[in-house]
């Protein structure tokens, strides 16, 4: 029994949440349109969370991802206002993300600061930089090129349902591509296995000849670039950029990875489990909004679900060890 709960408790819980909303909202929840909707709403969080998984595999954290997402958005937007072509602005924003990630990597691996402290400091720096770059203002309207804003509204037509077009959103496809790429890297390359080795025991990995410092540095670069990508997706979705708009992504991304960890066999972060965590958070938001649950109650419930999931997992683990 404990074994079943340990392995499947959270998965059963996630399924129960979906079934609950299905029952409470029979007409609108379990529909293709709603799920395509949810997939689009979650696309930015998915990108941040799966790239966050890369550092969490090593037992590290990156608290600066939300601030980086904001910074990347305003960097691109301010370049737009200066007349830069879209590809140039996007490349510059991604370069900022990569550079920020490398900075985190250097602080953590080369200098040896605790990730919590290092990325808390860079969070503050990136956030300050976002305000500096934008002058504290929101960039929107004619300053944002139509093509950039249209990207988030475009998608792959899937045909029609009830006389209305059904579209697989471009943002969803984009997030799926990033997820696939990170999944391949983490689960099917030596590089990924070495990151897991560092997470298991950094010292043992080092003794086994794994270049721990270099790998940790590169993993943070991944996360930084992912955060910047998510920031650009966000800016496209709202057709504007302000210096705080991505900040909320950080806590949700970490929560998603933790939720995901409760369903993995080894209790470690895995990309697909992280996606399950992201979907759980998104389904809660979507379903509770449709049920007209107060937005503050919604927040409390989401936190409670995380606690329940992690508790079930912890209790299951203890039960398996026979106390």
């Amino acid at each position: 029994m404990a074994r079943v709960l340990r392995h499947y408790g959270s998965l059963i819980g996630m399924a129960a949440i979906v079934l609950f909303f299905w029952a409470a909202l029979p007409d609108t929840f379990m529909t293709a349109r709603n799920w395509l909707n949810i997939s689009q709403q979650l696309s930015m969080l998915t990108v941040v969370a799966v790239t966050m998984t890369v550092v969490m595999v090593m037992g590290d954290f990156d608290l600066s991802v939300g601030a980086m997402a904001s910074l990347a958005g305003v960097v691109a937007a301010v370049l737009f206002t200066l007349g830069a072509p879209v590809p140039v602005a996007l490349a510059a924003a991604l370069a900022v993300g990569l550079a920020g990630g490398v900075l985190n990597g250097v602080l953590v691996s080369v200098i040896g600061i605790l990730p919590f402290v290092a990325t808390l400091a860079t969070l503050t720096m990136f956030s300050g930089a976002a305000f500096l770059v934008s002058g504290g203002k929101t960039v929107f309207g004619r300053d944002i090129p139509q093509g950039f804003a249209d990207f988030a509204r475009s998608g792959l037509p899937l045909g029609t349902l009830d006389g209305k077009p059904l579209v697989l959103p471009a943002l969803t496809l984009f997030a799926a591509a990033v997820t696939l790429a990170v999944w391949v890297v983490l689960d099917h390359t030596t590089y990924g296995r070495r990151l897991y080795a560092i997470g298991g025991n950094a010292e043992a990995a080092r003794l086994a000849g794994v270049k721990v410092d270099r790998l940790r540095l590169s993993a943070f670069a991944f996360t930084g670039a992912g955060a910047a990508l998510a920031g650009l997706m966000y800016a496209s979705r709202v057709a504007s950029a302000n210096p705080v708009q991505g900040d909320g992504l950080m806590l949700s991304a970490i929560a998603a990875v933790f939720l995901g960890m409760t369903i993995t066999r080894d209790g470690q972060p895995h990309v697909l489990a992280t996606v399950a965590g992201v979907v759980t958070l998104g389904v809660m938001d979507n379903g509770l909004t449709q049920l007209q649950v107060d937005s503050y109650v919604r927040q409390v419930l989401v936190g409670a679900i995380i606690i329940v999931a992690v508790s079930v997992s912890a209790i299951g683990k203890r039960a398996m060890r026979g106390r």
């Binding site: 029994m1 404990a2 709960l5 408790g9 819980g13 129960a16 609950f20 409470a24 909202l25 007409d27 609108t28 529909t31 349109r33 709603n34 909707n37 689009q40 709403q41 930015m44 002058g135 504290g136 929101t138 929107f140 309207g141 804003a149 988030a152 509204r153 209305k164 966000y234 979705r237 709202v238 057709a239 504007s240 302000n242 705080v244 708009q245 909320g248 938001d285 979507n286 509770l288 909004t289 449709q290 049920l291 007209q292 649950v293 107060d294 937005s295 503050y296 109650v297 419930l301 409670a304 329940v308 079930v312 209790i315 039960a319």
Partner: protein, 311 residues
């Protein structure tokens, strides 16, 4: 097995709590979603509370959704309530930023209303204050107070369309008085909030016009430059020359200055409660089948002077 029982009980309690919330949702009446990223801001709270009060009288089931500053979440929640099939959506965010959400509402045939949100073809009506009227009130106040003659300093900000509209009206009013001369039309640097730079600009103008009576009034398109000008005039020791200052918005600092009875004599207050109530009434009109002719609906504003600044 005891561990399992404990978990099962916990799970049941959670399920019961969720089911309870679900049950609460099925109240009678029209379903209206109010979505804003700015609920923590005082003005927004006034709108929303007044909207809720009116909606209660109308027997609606209102769901106020605060996304705590997250604009993308506004789009997501608009999509969610469009899927849910609410009867109307009320927004308090610039429609230019939530185009995808407006598309979702239009596709689901749900009318969207703006509560001081901005105009958009996909919005049935935006309920707000009339910037032109506000500027007319304060500029006419200035013209009357100085007897239609003398030098006036204007503080404007033409880069921001709502404030630019105010300046246009003041220009027209002052031009219509042949004996009023606009001494300077200043655009302050607002990156520090607008007070400090306006003060610096005003100090320079005072320096250039040292004769008492050479400046009769300062008309500011919003309160911050008016406060800056007031500081400059007081710092120069020229507060007894009868220079009349007006602002717009009647923020708390401006109200204090006006109540103190100094040079800062008037500002304009928007009726936030009125905007909330009128928004609810406008939603009711559309739900009742009326086709609105005007897609911007103005709620009257109020001139604030020392007589009513403390109210």
């Amino acid at each position: 097995m005891t561990g399992f029982t404990r978990r099962a009980v916990g799970g049941l309690a959670l399920a019961a709590a969720l089911a309870n919330l679900g049950g609460m949702a099925h109240a009678a009446g029209e379903k209206v979603a109010v979505i804003t990223p700015y609920l923590s801001q005082p003005g927004t709270q006034f709108y929303v509370e007044a909207f809720q009060a009116r909606a209660k009288e109308l027997g609606w089931d209102v769901n106020v959704i605060d996304t705590a500053g997250d604009v993308a979440a506004v789009i997501s929640r608009m999509e969610d309530v469009a899927t849910q099939g609410v009867d109307a959506i009320v927004l308090n965010v610039d429609p230019a930023q939530v185009g995808a959400g407006l598309d979702a509402a239009v596709a689901a045939n749900i009318p969207v209303f703006g509560m001081d949100a901005g105009a958009d073809p996909r919005i049935k009506a935006n309920v707000t204050s009339n910037g032109y009227a506000m500027a007319a009130e304060t500029s006419v106040y200035v013209a009357n107070r100085i007897g239609g003659a003398g030098n006036v300093v204007m503080f404007v900000f033409d880069a921001f369309p709502p404030v630019q509209a105010r300046g246009v009206i003041a220009d027209a009013v002052f031009k219509n008085h042949p004996d009023i001369t606009v001494l300077d039309r200043v655009t302050p640097d607002v990156s520090d909030g607008g007070i400090a730079d306006s003060r610096a600009k005003m100090e320079a103008i005072l320096q250039a016009n040292p004769e008492p009576g050479s400046i009769k009034a300062v008309w500011a398109a919003w309160d911050q430059p008016a406060l800056g000008a007031l500081q400059a005039i007081e710092a120069a020791g020229r507060q007894n020359e009868g220079i009349v200052i007006t602002g717009i918005d009647a923020n708390p600092q401006a109200r204090d200055a006006i109540a103190a009875g100094g040079n800062f004599e008037a500002s304009i207050a928007q009726d936030f409660q009125g905007i909330g109530k009128t928004t609810a009434d406008t939603v009711a009109r559309v739900l009742g089948g009326e086709a609105l002719k005007a897609n911007v609906i103005y709620v009257p504003t109020r001139l604030i002077t020392s007589a009513n600044a403390k109210e």
